[in-house]
Amino acid sequence: MGTRICFSVFALVVAVFAGWIFRSMREVEPIVAGPGVIEQRMLSAIEPSLANGPGDTPVFELAGTPGGTMLILGGTHPQEIGGVMAAILMVENARVTQGRLIVVPQANRSGFTHTDPMEAYLHRYEIETPAGTRWFRVGMRLTNPAHQWPDPDVFVHQPSLEQMVGHETRNLNRNHPGLARGWLTARVSHALTALAKEAALVLDLHEAQPEYPVINMIVAHENAFETAATASAMLQARRIPIGLSASPKNLHGLSHREFGDHAKVQAILTESANPAMGRFRGRTGEALVVEGRDPNYVRAAALKRLFVGFDERGWPLRLRVARNLASIKEILDAYNDLNPQSPIVVEGIPDYNDVVARGLGAFLQPPPRS
């Protein structure tokens, strides 16, 4: 009887403690609308079935005089935080003098409420600003299984009928263009595709592990290839090496393919190098997630196992975000040169050298007073 009571109490204590940790990941970090934001709405304004649910997410709009429209997505894969932070810095700093900029910093918001099981991921990280500390969640690549389950054995992408492994049904970047009457991730995708249809240019910000070949790369739909090639060349000229890759025509569900095919926009995706996502990584603490340092990756680079250089300085978050912001600026400049009839003129994008030198905290708005 004694062991039964002991184990029962033990199980309840563990369940309550673990439940408290998991519930705490549903607390939403503040994203502060900067001086250029003219409207903030939720994605459910486009797809009402998402209202008050885990897939509903803020949509920020910045606008000036009439011109073209650009959509920026961060957090399609929530643990790819270099993309999330670049989108947040756009919301909190950018001002649009001509055209319209729509930013969704947490495209798959359900994915921010959990982390990958058995991976010992950090749940949140902090950035110091002059006015106090801001915090952000790390999240995971897929929609939370507590919000969308069960996975099928085989995920059949619509409308291409391409077959993928079952858990990709919770991967937002395999669900595009989405379904109006589908599962949660498909409905989020459907709403984002509707937003993309309002735009002429879409940029989806991602990160990848250093051992992944498509890294420090711009991936572009054929509609966007001229824009992307010009931007890549300009980045190379600025000594910010970012390569260029064509979106494969038979790889379905990805933003750079489906937004181009279905929304008829210039669809571009970027990948920066995030060592916290890789298989060679050691302890996944703030030193790795924020500072991007890991001795295992230094050794892997010495053994030529990586597709990016890696030394003791690592790939800090500030550098990855600076590269993403530089990419946004060059993509916009290239788009404006090639489409002078409907430009998108954005000011206040934090400068690459400033972000690297001063860090992200210098460009984040003060934390809201609770």
Binding site: A11, A18, F22, A146
Partner: protein, 54 residues
């Protein structure tokens, strides 16, 4: 309105709840302390999934 997706999720959570309850039954029926411990450990994730927390 309950759609097919929500119905599937409810069935899944009910199954998780059934397993969690079975683990409690095993914990209190078994005489071997190792089997009791295993039941206690297995109970945790199923209870959390049934509650929709994880």
């Amino acid at each position: 309105m309950i759609d097919a997706e929500m119905m599937l999720m409810l069935v899944y959570r009910l199954l998780a709840l059934v397993v969690a309850i079975m683990m409690v039954v095993v914990l209190w029926r078994e005489r071997d302390w190792r089997a009791q411990l295993f039941a206690a450990l297995v109970f945790v994730p199923f209870a959390l999934r049934a509650a929709g927390v994880k």
